[in-house]
Symmetry: D2
Subunit: 279 residues, 4 copies
């Protein structure tokens, strides 16, 4: 039996009576609904419901009951509300990493940073300030599979629930990504799908855009094409050089990533057909 | 019996089982929920639920059943989804009026503009282009009560469900407002509560602010203090004169008003203790 | 001799003393500088200066003097501050057209709308309300060159300084565009370079983006790739269908286009290597 | 003689020929203008010009020459482009402090943080991570003048050019402020002039606003009424509690403060009649 707060996530093809069925089960268990959100995607005819509740539950029994009442295709997830265990992957840029370390130090991250892994060692002193293990796993003198295997081994020690690419500047192979389905979050320094790929600020400068942006997304097999979690933009003018755009963009990147992680770690996101439904 | 789509708005002090009770009634009536939103204000311990549904209903019977199941203090409103009847009040500025007339001409307003009333006649030619009755009711040579009485009489012909102050630049008396509780929407040309009162752009210029804004709100007894529906801001610099700020602000005003009206006319707003809950 | 206000636009490769040279000429002519802006693109090593001034000038003499003092590669433009003559091209959507007609009716456009040309006739009644010539030039039963030739002939009557594509939904050929170099402004319903081409809201919906946008740009040979003038974005969520995104985006489109046109018509834009420098 | 880059700031009542006079002096000294901006406030009839240049100068001689050519009321400031010396004042909140420490650690602040002073000791461990002196000067058991005198003494050691109130939650007396005219920058957690004074998020929550904001400003005698440097806003909904608004607002606060400091430390701001002119 567990009396802590829980988050229930259910999605399935839409039909009449779903909210009634689910809330009747919660009502019979005398659970106190703290927050409830539903959405029906009319285009896909798919139902999504997220419920935060408190009260004494037997998790197995509640899940069984829900599975009995819901359509067989339903995805049902029941998570205790607790901080997630995560590992950060970084390269050389400090702005997202530093921002996340500060939030973690003051318990504002809804997550435990178990370790930081980097293919360079320049960020080691920053991580050390916060007393967190830092693994320097260089990609030099290693094939890509060897490098990813080394990272994979380091991760095995920590068993993180999520990997956060906080400006990790190497492409991950589909094989690596497949180990962590919907568990890797990346920050891309453009408003996707504009400027996919390398050096988006340079691309933005060359195109003469009047807005730049940042996108946090889940990572899937196709680089920069996973489900988008959060995006924001910053107005720019001709006065900014490519480097100045990059500097201006960094503030956007760190805020967009932090906001997206909050949504992920609070179990507020459904992923459905490469899109996110966020409550 | 009515088979059209309806919107059900219920708010009451929070207690366990409200969503279950409401959805069980809708389920028994075999109604198809198109959209459902709930919110519990933890601070006020108050529950809000808005449901859009389709299906055959006997309105009286459904309301009776809901009143029986809900706590006695519950506010229950059941509206067919249909365009609202409205009258616009204006003075001399055309930007909000013109924008609303265009939206109405192309059926994008969720409302019927029955008439436009003004204390000046300069906007008559614009209104005439769209074939809508224009009432010029000058405030000159009339006391304030006489003027408002004349407006009140003109309104009596149309029996509008909402009055929209689309840059109506005269203060309404509490007596007038009392005739239309929560039925008058105003656009104020600042991000309230900054720059309450007259000439907010001049005030903004004098204060040297770096953002200006607009606020759409319901009108209550205290000028500029009614429940806020929607707000937006625009960045400005020292380069703008007070007049240029006013011009730049007009685009914000018309968009903010149009967006707020959409929310009102689609029955998406609860008013509770001088605040809005918007789904 | 002309005593009206003028705008002087000069750009050339950067060198020491350019501001001094230009202002010394203006000073000798006893001209009163109302507004002065310079920018040096360090990347391209190119100088841009825009000056608004008042005072009695002999245009030819002043231009001669400037050409003598400036480097031979300098582009020098001297325009009286006056409203531009323009023609609008539209298809079926009314939101940008209606917004521009309203601004024109109240002299807020810095331009004279000489005529509206459309490949459909649905917007004729709206244009008629404002007493502006409407040319219905259908693309049916005409080859593309024939259709463009018909438009070209209609334009010849008006000799407009700028063409505004206010949701004109046909691609213009390079041959047509070549007649109006840097004189055609288009509004594209996405934040370019995202979602180039047809149906950007559908593309945005399918990609699951969290922001949509609009881009006003000059038209060159490559569709959607001309110099960007102004862009803005609007946050969206999973709750919006593709059609709702399109509706939400329209407010952005009309404001972005109007803002861009103001910049163009006030001679505030330099075009240099497919980018805009805007003062 | 100095060959480093300099910033020249000149403001005075407007008259014909000012740009010409100033640029002719710079031209005679063979200085290379890197960036030049002017603005004339037509309302106040006041001229502002900021010039970044490189080249060998004798500062005293150049200033003398400028004073000879400019009107006697002109304010003329000539600063080498260099990092400013600053001291931070904080209380208990870490978000602005942490953000500035990180930027400083990676040389992105255009300033040297000489020390941090606080009336509480909770932030000492954070400051220690970055190896910067921390002065805990409690206000307990001290009168306000005694407390400010203690701070004043601590500051005397460092001789900072600017004081940054990075969430320093005590009101400074006019006597204290008078020691640092136009040298104290504060971050206020609302979009001023809305919600002046204590607990602005609580005020915003109670008013039911749909936007919250942050304002960075110079501190003068009247609390929250000094010249505004930068402001930004964040949209909020009824779903946020007062505490959640405060949390959401913190990201805005730290970015607004950092952006404002960049402008201050790069000598990009004129203060004129309680307003800022920013290039």
């Amino acid at each position: 039996m567990s009396a802590e707060a829980h988050v229930l996530l259910i999605d399935c093809p839409d039909q009449i009576g779903l909210v009634y069925s689910i809330t009747s089960i919660l009502y019979r268990h005398a659970l106190n609904i703290l927050k409830n959100d539903e959405f029906v995607d009319r285009h896909a005819n798919h139902f999504f419901m997220r419920t935060e509740f408190s009260g004494n539950i037997d998790t197995t029994e509640l899940l069984n009951e829900l599975h009995t009442q819901m359509p067989p295709e339903a995805n049902i997830v029941l998570n205790p509300r607790k901080r997630k265990d995560i590992v950060l992957l970084v390269t050389k840029e400090h702005h997202c990493l530093g921002d996340l370390l500060l939030r973690y130090a003051y318990d504002e991250l809804d997550a435990n940073i178990l370790a930081v892994i980097s293919n360079h060692n320049v960020l080691q002193p920053l991580v050390a300030k916060f007393g967190i293990p830092f693994h320097y796993i260089s990609h030099e003198h290693r094939t890509r599979p060897e490098h990813e295997e080394a990272i994979h081994k380091a991760l095995a020690i920590y068993q993180p629930e999520f990997l956060v690419l906080a400006k990790y500047m190497r492409v991950l192979t589909p094989e690596f990504v497949a180990h962590y389905p919907n568990k890797i979050i990346n920050i891309h320094h453009s408003f996707l799908p504009a400027f996919i790929g390398a050096n988006p600020y340079r691309q933005a400068f060359d195109r003469g855009v009047k807005i730049i942006g940042a996108t946090a997304h889940f990572v899937n097999n196709n680089l920069d094409e996973g489900p988008i979690i959060h995006q924001d933009t910053i107005p720019v003018t001709h006065r900014l050089s490519s480097d100045e755009m990059a500097r201006a963009g960094k503030d956007g990147e760190k805020i967009v990533l932090a906001r997206a992680l909050k949504l992920v770690f609070q179990d507020r996101i459904f992923i459905h057909k490469n899109k996110t439904i966020i409550f």
